[in-house]
């Protein structure tokens, strides 16, 4: 039988033309492909360094400079004066103001204590040699001259078109708070062609790549640092303008990844950044929690009660499980006194929600955080809905995406073995 079929298939050849495969051409193509692959891999490390560098800035800010500029959180003795829900809150014992922290320098990346969080993050990014100020442009539809970290909901977001003479692309960096979660490939928004553990040391960093049929190349890196600060970076080879205009990308790799691919930035910056992680540098500091864009120092034991209690949940705070449940309406917000700019913070019911960046609510787009795909105002009393359609071969285990910042009841994903 096998011979019959083989004989039959052999009859398909007919007159076989001479072989015209050029050995030199194949070798040339192979070398080119190899170069591109090595270049791309090296560039991925740079994206990961963005993560590590910016993450260190966030942590340094959390651990060192906040008590100086932030007043204590409101207690139950200070009810909100306006229409916001007035609910009894558990007492919050605020920590005494810490001594003025020294300025921290991370490998030449100065972080001024007391400065605004967004400004510090932005400064670190521009000091990191990943992107320069004169080669970034704000995205279409956004205001301002120089792209900078901005606060959307509870997430600091940096988005910019990176335009160089030869290459163009988009860089997106996000910093948010995801207590209790650890980084894994499940955090990375689909689609991607492969995900790997980039850095096995603690905290782990995960790296995913995507190569679209339209020529789009995307590298995504995410990590969750100590104390639940998640930092993610996305670099693509297509600018937002080009995407909107339907212009195909001319760059083979994201421009952010081009610079320093062979310059050893990882080797010089990363160890310094690691040394700056608060697990070593800031032991003994009081625990902290993030409420909106305000960072409040509280006693560690009280933090969960203050920011995760049932009473808070009804006013839009986090749920008792710490999973970040949000109510359908805008969150109530206690008075906190003047903010860093000297203007009294809004109290009570929040009437306006900052507009999320355009990519944030779009499933499948780069930089979309886990849990960020769904509508932020989802009614928590309704049945939980699957935020993202899983690609084939993946199964979900009790996925309940109920908040914007990625806090989940259980967002773990396991690879189907079937």
């Amino acid at each position: 039988m096998t011979d019959d079929v083989k004989q039959l298939l052999g009859r398909a050849f007919g007159d076989e033309p001479p072989l015209r495969i050029d050995r030199d051409e194949v070798l040339q193509q192979g070398r080119k492909r190899l170069r591109r692959r090595r270049f791309f891999e090296a560039g991925s490390v740079i994206a990961a360094v963005v993560v590590a560098a910016v993450g260190a800035a966030a942590l340094t800010n959390l651990a060192g400079s906040e008590p100086e500029r932030m007043p204590p959180a409101a207690t139950s003795a200070q009810p909100a004066p306006n229409e916001g829900l007035s609910l009894p809150l558990p007492p919050v014992s605020t920590s005494p103001p810490a001594e003025p922290p020294p300025s921290v320098s991370l490998g030449g990346l100065p972080i001024e204590s007391g400065a605004d969080m967004s400004k510090q993050l932005t400064d670190v990014l521009y000091s990191s040699d990943i992107v320069a100020m004169d080669e970034v442009e704000v995205l279409p539809g956004q205001s301002g001259g120089l792209p900078a970290f901005q606060l959307y909901g509870e997430q600091y977001v940096y988005e910019a078109d990176v335009v160089r003479s030869d290459v163009r692309g988009l860089l997106r960096v996000t910093v948010d708070y995801v207590p209790g979660q650890v980084a894994d490939c499940g955090m990375i928004p689909a689609p991607y062609t492969g995900c790997e553990e980039w850095d096995k040391s603690s905290p782990q960093a995960f790296l995913a790549r995507y190569e679209g049929s339209d020529g789009e190349r995307r590298t995504y890196v995410t990590t969750v640092l100590e104390r639940g600060i998640r930092v993610s970076a996305t670099a693509t080879n297509t600018t937002d303008r080009d995407r909107a205009a339907g212009t195909p990308s001319s760059a083979k790799i994201p421009p952010v990844l081009v610079r320093g691919a062979g310059a050893g930035v990882a080797g010089t910056v990363l160890p310094v950044v690691r040394a700056g992680w608060p697990g070593r540098q800031h032991d003994g500091q009081p625990g902290r929690a993030v409420v909106g864009h305000r960072l409040v120092a509280v006693d560690p034991g009280v933090a969960a009660g203050a920011f995760a209690g049932p009473a808070r949940q009804s006013s839009g705070g986090r749920g008792a499980d710490g999973g970040g449940q949000y109510s359908a309406g805008p969150a109530g917000q206690p008075c906190r006194g003047p903010g860093p700019d000297g203007v009294a913070a809004a109290c009570g019911r929040r009437t306006a929600t900052p507009t999320p960046p355009r990519h944030e609510a779009e499933p499948g787009r780069e930089g979309t955080t886990v849990g960020g795909e769904e509508t932020p105002q989802q009614d928590e009393t309704g049945p939980p809905r699957l935020a993202r359609r899983l690609t084939q071969g993946w199964t979900s285990r009790a996925r309940t995406f109920s908040n914007r910042s990625g806090g989940t009841a259980d967002s773990s994903i396991e690879r189907s073995t079937a």
Binding site: L8, G14, L19, V26, G30, R33
Partner: protein, 170 residues
């Protein structure tokens, strides 16, 4: 790099024509596409050459790449719209044996890409069901059923006289 080029060059010289035949069958009978497919495969092999040399599985790796590339190619719509030929076809009386070749080629071309890959690997490359399943990343049961369906399809297209009524049923 020089060692890689030398070793790879030797492999290319020794295997290119064999690979082209397999590629020809996988493409459903198009020498131009077959050569493109072989070139794509060889380029990919070049990139991974040190690793696959170390594993000693160059042929298995090349088969896997080629089959997957062929299936990917078959999904592209433009392939179905046109086929490249070197010279304009002339309407002359074909020499003896050519009709056979054309029939088999047409029959192969009408098979779905997955079934064609199974038939080629099983009966042209003489791979076992297990090896074919590994090369295609499918289960053995799928390979058996695809093989059976592929042969039945060929039988129907060729008028049943050429193939016996057996397959991988077991």
């Amino acid at each position: 790099m020089q060692d890689r080029d030398t070793e790879f060059g030797e492999y290319l010289d020794s295997r290119a024509s064999v690979m082209r035949r397999t590629a020809y069958l996988l493409c459903g009978g198009d020498w131009h596409r077959a050569e493109d497919l072989v070139q794509t495969t060889l380029t990919k092999i070049y990139v991974a050459w040190p690793r696959i040399r170390r594993d000693g599985s160059v042929d298995a790796y090349s088969r896997k790449i080629m089959v997957r590339a062929a299936i990917d190619e078959s999904r592209k719509a433009y392939r179905r719209r046109e086929s490249v030929v070197e010279d304009l076809p002339e309407l002359t009386t074909p020499p003896q044996g050519v009709e056979d070749a054309v029939d088999v080629r047409r029959a192969l071309a009408q098979l779905p890409a997955g079934q064609r890959a199974v038939v080629v690997l099983r009966y042209w490359e003489d791979l076992s069901v297990t090896e074919t399943a590994q090369a295609l990343g499918k289960s053995e049961g799928t390979i058996k059923s695809q093989s059976s369906k592929g042969l039945a399809h060929l039988r129907r297209l060729l008028g049943s006289g050429d193939l016996a009524q057996t397959g991988d049923s077991g």
